[in-house]
């Protein structure tokens, strides 16, 4: 695993909302080709970490390097061009735009039109429901369809690193399994992924490595099969 190249390295970042501190020194690494997960209870700082990597927040302390370059402090529109895209929590779709427009929005910064069309076909392969919904507004989709569109939209930017924030949120159990399967397929097809999940069981099942966060700090990390047995996971959720 570690003979692969380090794609993303988050080093001891502290992040604040106004005066309220949300992250108290989070560090993590993602190697090329890996599926890495961050798990932890509500308010642990998982979403904050992803928002900081994407540039929606700036760390007050610490650094974030991507492919060896410092990206902390860059804007979200610059970071997506460098190769990090995000399927955000709550989906954040353009609700009044059509499915097709949402997908093209994901490819906004690209000028390689032919490759964009190829990626569109690839997204349709992963999510066969989407081609039938192209003219529908995003707000008219079901929860599962919206989640598929969110992931598809993020893939359309042809990312080197895909950040996924709680893809299982609010979905029925079978759909959770479907989405989990698609995340695994993506990894198997070579997509590097940093997955944030509250559903620890699902995340640990499909990921290579994991980080457990609790109230803004990483409290455990390692290969998922090792993490599964630790108490850290349980205590991160229930505070025992």
């Amino acid at each position: 695993m570690s003979n692969k190249e380090t794609l993303l390295s988050v080093d001891d970042i502290e992040v604040f909302y106004g005066e309220t501190q949300a992250l108290f020194g989070v560090s993590l690494e993602v190697y090329e080709g890996e599926l890495v997960t961050m798990i932890g209870g509500n308010g642990a700082g998982k979403t904050t970490t992803l928002r900081t990597i994407s540039g929606l927040l700036s760390p007050r302390v610490g650094s974030i390097t991507f492919k060896g370059d410092e990206i902390a402090g860059k804007g979200p529109d610059e970071i997506v061009k460098l190769g990090i895209s995000q399927a955000p929590e709550g989906r954040m779709l353009f609700s009044g735009l059509t499915v097709e427009e949402n997908l093209y929005a994901g490819a906004y910064h690209r000028s390689d039109d032919a490759a964009v069309e190829e990626d569109l076909e690839m997204v349709y392969d992963y999510f066969p429901q989407l081609p039938d919904l192209l003219e529908h507004n995003a707000e008219d989709l079901s929860g599962g369809q919206q989640q598929m569109l969110t992931i598809g939209r993020a893939l359309m930017s042809d990312p080197d690193l895909l950040l996924m924030d709680e893809p299982s949120l609010g979905l029925a159990p079978q759909l959770v399994q479907t989405i989990g399967g698609i995340v695994e397929d993506l990894r198997d097809d070579g997509q590097t992924i940093l997955l944030v999940e509250q559903n620890a069981e699902l995340a640990l099942d499909i990921s290579d490595r994991g980080y457990v966060v609790q109230t803004g700090e990483v409290v455990a990390s390692g290969p998922t099969e090792e993490l599964r047995d630790t108490d850290a996971v349980r205590s991160a959720y229930f505070g025992q």
Partner: protein, 305 residues
């Protein structure tokens, strides 16, 4: 009983005038809808655009409708510069900052015109006459103005729906953060949006200047009508604004015909406040939705049920 020919005359006048009102309101609606900025100085920009066209005619002998090709691009640049200097620094500040800053612009622009141009009304005499439309005598300039309003609405629609920057503008209006995650710089989108909004004024100005005469305070008369049109037509809804403009134009013409022109302003301010009341009491949908599209929605849902 009102005679049919009088009625058709009122409607025709109203529609023609209303199209021009809509043209003035389109930029306002775009800026309000995308940036959530109320540009109180919209009328002052309009006044400057009217003068620009007047001087293009007086100095260069340029036809007012041709001068659009000059004025609109210039006003796009003017809008972009204004956005950088004034709107950008206060975009995340509370409402009052935007209100004051744009009100400050009104004073600067109006008094600039007052000082350098003076208060005598300036009218363009480009040699257009009258014509007969559907048997009703009308001024040619009003007809051409209306055609330009329609073409502009169509152009705006295509720009917003069919181009990449249009997609970025609509996406940013829906969810600014998500748009940034897609690589759409909101700074650029806001610059372009404000530029386009002011460029639309650059289209409206020459049309207005060919119909009405220009004074330093002429903009104030039309900016409130434009607000009424925007509230009726919806934010960022090009065709909604067009319909609302025509509706207000008809009201304007009817009041002027049956009562007196000075009364038409109080009448549409009353409509404006009535719309606000409807909204406050929850009889209107989301704040971006115009009254007309709301009514259309209700009508269509009644049909289907």
């Amino acid at each position: 009983m009102v005679q049919a020919d009088i009625l058709s005359q009122i409607i025709l006048y109203g529609v023609l005038t209303g199209g021009v009102y809509a043209l003035v309101a389109m930029g306002l609606s775009l800026i309000f809808g995308v940036m959530d900025v109320v540009n109180f100085a919209h009328g002052a920009y309009l006044m400057l655009a009217m003068y620009s066209s007047y001087f293009a005619w007086q100095i260069l002998g340029l036809d007012p409708f041709l001068s659009i090709l000059l004025v609109a691009p210039a006003f796009f640049v003017f809008g972009v510069i204004s956005e950088r200097l004034i709107i950008h620094p206060i975009i995340d500040e509370p409402d009052f900052a935007q209100i004051f800053a744009t009100v400050g612009l009104i004073w600067v622009f109006e008094n600039f015109a007052h000082y350098f141009i003076g208060t005598d009304p300036k009218g363009i005499e480009a040699g257009y006459g009258g014509m007969s439309l559907l048997g009703v005598p009308v001024q040619e300039v009003r007809v051409y103005g209306f055609v330009i309003a329609l073409l502009t609405a169509l152009g705006m629609y295509l720009l917003l729906e069919k181009t990449k920057i249009g997609l970025a503008i609509r996406a940013t209006a829906q969810d600014k953060e998500a748009a940034e995650l897609m690589g759409m710089s909101s700074e650029v989108v806001y610059m372009v949006t404000f530029g386009l909004g002011i460029a639309l004024v650059g289209v409206a100005g020459p049309v207005m200047a060919s119909i009405y005469s220009t004074t330093p305070t002429v903009g104030a008369n039309y900016v409130l009508i434009a607000f009424v049109v925007v509230v009726l037509g919806g934010l960022g809804d090009v065709f909604g604004v067009l319909w609302a403009g025509m509706l207000i134009g008809i009201v304007d013409a009817a009041v002027a015909f049956f009562y007196e022109p000075t009364l038409s302003a109080p009448v549409y301010y009353t409509i404006f406040i009535a719309v606000l009341v409807l909204r406050a009491t929850g009889h209107l949908g989301g704040s971006d939705e115009g009254l007309l599209s709301r009514i259309a929605n209700i009508a269509s849902s009644n049909e289907s049920s």
